[in-house]
């Protein structure tokens, strides 16, 4: 009966219009949700046994721009790595401080330099002697704490790697589970858009830590492989393994095997070590901090400490000292070994013979570090020799061939940190800007345009009203029949 056909057609139209209204409302509600991709309904003519029978919802299309997403993900890797590296460089630069900062390493060292010059003017003053020893001790304590702070930064980077690894592992497991749910939804012809959004977010988490490529598989599933070719998800999620350490000393490095690398299912993917190590991502950034940036700063401050010990240990500088005996500064009380072990800056001490806290006597600054008896009270010969040793130009490992006095060398160590900071910050700003530009473009392709949605809503309203009108008229036709 064709009147009932008209009713059934109009009912299908009402259903399609209300489904569209539902989708529009969901789009508008999620206009600000990160990672939400716009949905559109796709309508098709409904046919029963070859004849038209109203309208049906053929499916829900999820807006996607695979090329832009892949490009944005590729840009994510360098941005995350540079962000981690520049944060560490900025922190190290802050720890080293500047010359204008009273508590900084350079200020403490120049205070020691000044106190020696004061002592040269009044060698008999026991107050000036004590001030000189105290400022030398303060300078060594500041250098010691720099060394400790640098190792703390390495421990924190190590912990950050462990945290990232467990996030990646959790995300990989989640992606495996979502793959299964998406497969079932696809098989049952259900809308999997929400699951796809969820999975994209999980892939973004993995990609931020280790840059990956997604590989489409049957039934809407995906596999993940790092851009360097190590599979992270192949049907089953594979787990990254990494062992964090509670404490890291200066001599422990990844190169000498004391620190953990990164591996997935037995394949070594340590950043910067093997052919499969990722070059981008926050994990690569933290590895750079742990094994490169903080180690570089620690090596420089060690070289500075070695230079300082060396200046006061020159033979003949202090007549009271036997050849090879430690000078004013020591490696934990001993003379400098060649080569010295890493972490020297943390072991730098003032010679116990001048330190009143260790039974020494500050007057030995004037009389000779190993002098058995007090010398002439007005003699400043040794102090002047010490000042000359400080001012003598010497070549340091970090001064790129130039010969610098001790005070200039301290300034150079700090300047190097500042330069590293600004270089890594500008790199981070560049890679972040590129990533943001691509993310913006991706959002333009897949995000919600509320104006367009409201326009769509008007059309839906009209379609709904028209279908309702058909039902109303059909009802009146049936009334006409019964009134016969």
């Amino acid at each position: 009966m064709s009147i009932s056909q008209a009713l059934s057609n109009a009912t299908s139209g009402l259903g399609a219009a209300s489904r569209q209204a539902g989708l529009v409302s969901q789009n508008i509600a999620n206009a600000l949700t990160p990672g939400y991709a716009r949905r559109e309904i796709s309508l098709a003519e409904r046919t029963v046994a070859g004849a038209g029978a109203g309208v049906r919802v053929a499916g829900v299309d999820r807006a996607a721009s695979p090329a832009l997403t892949a490009e944005r993900r590729a840009a994510e890797g360098p941005a995350a790595r540079d962000a981690a590296a520049s944060a560490a460089a900025a922190r190290i630069s802050t720890i080293f401080g500047g010359p204008e900062d009273a508590s900084s390493f350079v200020s403490k060292f120049s205070a020691f330099d000044r106190s020696l010059r004061d002592l040269a003017n009044q060698p008999s003053s026991s107050a000036a002697q004590r001030v000189a020893v105290a400022s030398a001790k303060q300078a060594t304590v500041t250098i010691n704490s720099l060394s400790t702070s640098l190792q703390t930064i390495r421990v924190e980077a190590d912990r950050a790697i462990a945290a990232e690894v467990s996030r990646v592992n959790a995300s990989l497991t989640a992606i495996e589970a979502l793959n299964g749910q998406i497969e079932r939804a696809t098989a049952a012809n259900r809308d999997a858009s929400a699951l796809l959004d969820e999975r994209d977010r999980a892939v973004n988490v993995v990609n931020g830590a280790i840059p990956v490529r997604t590989l489409a598989r049957e039934n809407g599933k995906i596999d993940l492989i790092t851009t360097e070719g190590a599979p992270l998800l192949a049907g089953e999620a594979r787990q990254l393994s990494f062992t964090p350490r509670l404490l890291i000393t200066a001599d422990q490095t990844f190169a000498n095997g004391a620190l953990s690398g990164l591996s997935v299912d037995g394949v070594d993917i340590t950043p910067g070590a093997g052919a499969r190590g990722p070059s981008g991502g926050s994990i690569a950034g933290q590895f750079a901090v742990r094994d490169d940036i903080a180690v570089g700063a620690a090596t420089d401050i060690d070289a500075f400490a070695a230079d300082l010990i060396d200046r006061f240990a020159a033979s003949g500088l202090d007549p009271s000292a036997a050849p090879g005996a430690p000078g004013l500064f020591t490696d934990a009380g001993a003379a400098l070994a060649d080569p010295y072990t890493a972490g020297l800056a943390g072991r730098l001490r003032v010679n116990a013979s001048v330190d009143p806290d260790q039974g020494g006597d500050p007057s030995r600054l004037r009389d000779g570090l190993y002098a058995a008896a007090p010398g002439p009270a007005g003699s400043n010969a040794l102090v002047v020799a010490f000042i000359r040793a400080l001012d003598a130009p010497q070549a340091q490992a970090f001064s790129s061939g130039r010969s610098l006095s001790a005070l200039d060398a301290a300034g150079a160590v700090v300047a190097l940190r500042g330069a590293a900071r600004s270089a890594s910050e500008s790199a981070a700003a560049g890679s972040a800007a590129y990533r943001d530009a691509l993310a913006e473009a991706e959002l333009g392709e897949t995000g919600v345009d509320t104006d367009a949605e409201l326009q769509q809503l008007l059309l839906v309203e009209q379609a709904f009203a028209a279908n309702a009108r058909v039902i109303e008229v059909t009802g009146r036709l049936i009334d006409q029949l019964t009134e016969l």
């Binding site: 046994a49 004849a51 098989a187 594979r238």
Partner: protein, 434 residues
């Protein structure tokens, strides 16, 4: 006598119009019953032996029948097991007694449509108690050659809703690119690992670990890779097969598979481009491509990219829905995307649809008048296709029935008028002798 025959004809007219009214009321009552076939009454005149110069009214009699061959309009529904037929033919069903009876005692009933659901015993039935019949399929999806002139091969459709099923993997297509720069002199020669998941005979997930090792020559480029395949279901150290691939570097077919040397349990067929290995659950074919063609496995100067590694098979899955296709095949769809045919539902055709006996619940039984049944595959021969998600509406047309109602009412009152007139005429006759 003329006048009394008029009275009899009038009474007969009342009776047949009452019959007509009964069919109309039944049709209107069932105007929303799915699969209802309208009943109709047709009138035939009765002629008495006539003498010249006289006329005796013979009256009228009615024949009723049900138009089982008429097609109701199809309406769509949301249930995959709402089944109807787009064209000639009826679905085979049986009643509650037949659902449990042996095949020989089962009564074959026919219906044009049904809103079927699985009951507590897994049988597909309607609320009105009709059980769908079909031919069960074997594991390959074939029904064999059942008897088509009787319902003896038909069984009540039974579906185990909580059943599991799986399909083992027999084929993997290795659509991947190996980096050409790795076979150039001086390359580090690091191997690439690729795990590929497959499903064994019990639906378990297993993994094939493929190791691609480049051959690094002293000078130039070797374009050669060694591939070793380890099955984690078997030995974790001994490969189930290895093969060496040398890639082509000629202008037209550069980058595709050149020569393949298989060994250690693997064999390569250049015609099909497949490497066959034997896993713990039987032979598995790995499609890498034939030489000198657009092979699946390539070696180009790009990254290691397993972009199109595909496989057949499905892991263990739960039954999610039942679907019927246009050929009458009832298919189970599992939630892992795997489908398996369970039954084939034939479409029954009889020579004379009006000869079928209506037995209630929109079902019909075969009678002597209807002729012998024949079971067609849906969409084959004269019968229509089976349609899921659809029901056949009642064939009642309300407008036509209401029109008939008016006509019947007029005819009835006209016949009553005849009786009244005859009565008045007889009154006149009796008044003569007063």
């Amino acid at each position: 006598m003329g006048i009394s025959s008029s009275l009899n004809a009038g009474v007969a007219g009342l009776a047949v119009n009452a019959v007509k009214l009964a069919t109309i009321s039944d049709n209107i009552a069932n105007s929303q019953t799915i699969g209802y076939k309208r009943a109709d009454a047709q009138f035939a005149d009765l002629v008495l032996q006539q003498q010249s110069g006289a006329y005796s009214a013979g009256g009228v009699r009615a024949f009723t029948f049900r138009d089982a061959g008429a097609q109701g309009a199809l309406i769509t529904t949301a249930s995959s097991t709402d089944i109807s037929i787009s064209g000639r033919g009826l679905l085979p069903v049986t009643d509650a007694a037949g659902a449990t009876a042996p095949a020989a005692d089962r009564e074959l009933l026919l219906t044009s449509t049904g809103s079927f659901f699985t009951d507590e015993f897994g049988q597909l039935r309607t609320q009105s108690g009709l059980f769908l019949l079909g031919w069960p399929t074997d594991s390959t999806g074939s029904v064999g050659s059942p008897a088509r002139d009787s319902g003896s091969g038909l069984e009540p459709v039974r579906i185990n809703l909580n059943q599991f099923s799986a399909a083992p993997t027999t084929e993997v297509r290795l659509g991947l690119n190996l980096p050409a720069s790795d076979t150039v002199a001086g390359a580090p020669g690091d191997p690439y690992l690729l795990p590929i998941e497959y499903f064994d005979n019990l639906g378990r997930r297993q993994t094939l670990s493929l190791t691609f090792t480049p051959a690094v020559p002293a000078a130039g480029a070797s374009n050669q890779w060694n591939v070793s395949i380890i099955d984690n279901a078997g030995s974790p150290t001994t490969p189930i097969g290895t093969f060496d691939v040398t890639f082509d570097d000629t202008p037209a077919t550069g980058g595709s598979v050149g020569a393949v040397t298989a060994g250690g349990g693997a064999s390569y067929d250049p015609a099909t481009g497949r490497v066959t290995v034997t896993t713990a659950s039987g032979p598995l074919e790995i499609d890498i491509g034939s030489p000198n063609g657009g092979s699946a496995l390539t070696q180009l100067s790009a990254t290691f990219a397993p972009l199109a590694v595909t496989k057949n098979g499905a892991p263990i899955g739960n039954l999610s829905t039942i679907e019927i296709d246009e050929g009458g095949v009832l298919t189970a769809v599992f939630d892992t995307g795997f489908r398996r045919p369970l039954y084939q539902i034939p479409v029954v055709d009889v020579p004379n649809y009006r000869g079928l006996n209506a037995v209630g619940n929109q079902a019909f039984a075969v009678s002597q008048d209807s002729g012998d049944i024949f079971l067609w595959d849906a969409g084959d021969g004269p019968v229509g296709e089976t349609v899921g998600f659809a029901l056949s509406e009642s064939t009642t047309d309300i407008a036509a029935e209401l029109t008939d109602l008016i006509q019947t009412q007029r005819a009835y009152s006209s016949n009553a008028k005849i009786i009244q007139t005859v009565d008045e005429m007889l009154q006149e006759t009796t008044n003569i002798i007063r």
